[in-house]
Symmetry: C2
Subunit: 201 residues, 2 copies
């Protein structure tokens, strides 16, 4: 690996991957991209973020929903909305990487950049259910009664999205340079290790 310019972070739901990415970006003084990628893609496609938010990191949305959205579009549309969003997000990610050093969370960025750049550090953040459940309740306000189902639903959504779009297995360590257990290591230490690795490699 050459000097690291781009850091991608895959993450289990509520594992703290987004917070770790933010900390890394702040420490290194580089831009942080997460939901922003969706907004940029939506703008490029001349859709409102509201219209496409259900398609973000979703591989298999309701056909009916897709069709209803497609029927409202003035431009000619031949692909399902999810595929169009993915294709556009992919272009956004490539452009962001070209524009300079940054941290990108989710959206198959590791796989999208793997073939075209050698200055990308690919990170995966994971944690046990106990840690993630606590964070989902405390940080995201999830209902304690069905929080385990929420965890499973989000992880399933992310893995389906990744697996279908990349042909690889989401969270399989071979796809990443480093995998960190945020529950055991702590969010700040995860960020410190990533910064050290990105700065010195």
């Amino acid at each position: 690996m050459g000097k690291t310019n781009i850091i991608t972070i895959g993450r289990e739901y509520a594992s703290g991957g987004r917070e770790i990415g933010k900390l890394v970006a702040e420490t290194m003084g580089v831009p942080f991209y997460n939901k922003e990628i969706l907004h940029m893609a939506a703008e490029n496609l001349k859709m409102s973020a509201e219209d496409v938010k259900f398609a973000d990191e979703t591989a298999a949305s309701s056909l009916l929903y897709s069709m209803s959205l497609m029927s409202n579009l003035s431009t000619s549309v031949s692909l399902p909305i999810n595929d169009r969003i993915f294709i556009e997000e992919r272009e956004v990610i490539k452009t962001l990487a070209q524009n300079g050093p940054c941290v990108i969370v989710g959206r198959c960025a590791d796989n999208i950049l793997k073939e075209i750049r050698d200055d990308v550090l690919n990170v995966f953040i994971y944690a046990d259910s106990e840690f993630r459940v606590k964070r989902a309740i405390d940080e995201y306000g999830e209902n304690p009664d069905d929080v385990y189902a929420v965890l499973r639903k989000h992880d399933k959504k992310r893995s389906t999205y990744y697996n279908l779009n990349t042909g690889q297995k989401w969270g399989a360590k071979d796809n990443y340079d480093i995998c960190l257990n945020s529950a055991n290591i702590g969010i700040e230490m995860c960020a410190k290790l990533i910064v050290k690795l990105a700065s010195e490699s």
Copy 2:
């Protein structure tokens, strides 16, 4: 996790896990245990290291071989040789951990210490086949003609040993605090990150 005293390192064959463990131990000024654990266990069982070397990190050796060994033992033996070795290695690992900070490679040390200590950092080292094949030839003198088969054989042996003795899946990242891709990160940087994590957590 409290302050780290013990570092365990699981590793794919020829991924550099042993070298990384040695570097970490040297840097931190603590003992390094790998094959030594087998020798200590053999001594405790009053067997020669030669007699037991085939049982090291092997869960399912030939029944015939086990029986031939057992028939030569003067003491009463009720368990297969591999199980006796595992049980004795487990005791050795617990004792080594009690004796003070150290680095332990392989032998299910992560799982053995998990229930009884909270000052253990569990690391897994992995790498792609290309990197490991090169190292297996260059460092271990494996024959290039069948080196892929050797890789598969050793990984299979380690995973069977770990899975049968722990009920967990060898290399599954949930069992570890940090997983490092030595092919991408480099052996020295892997050691640096482990030292940083062990020193500051």
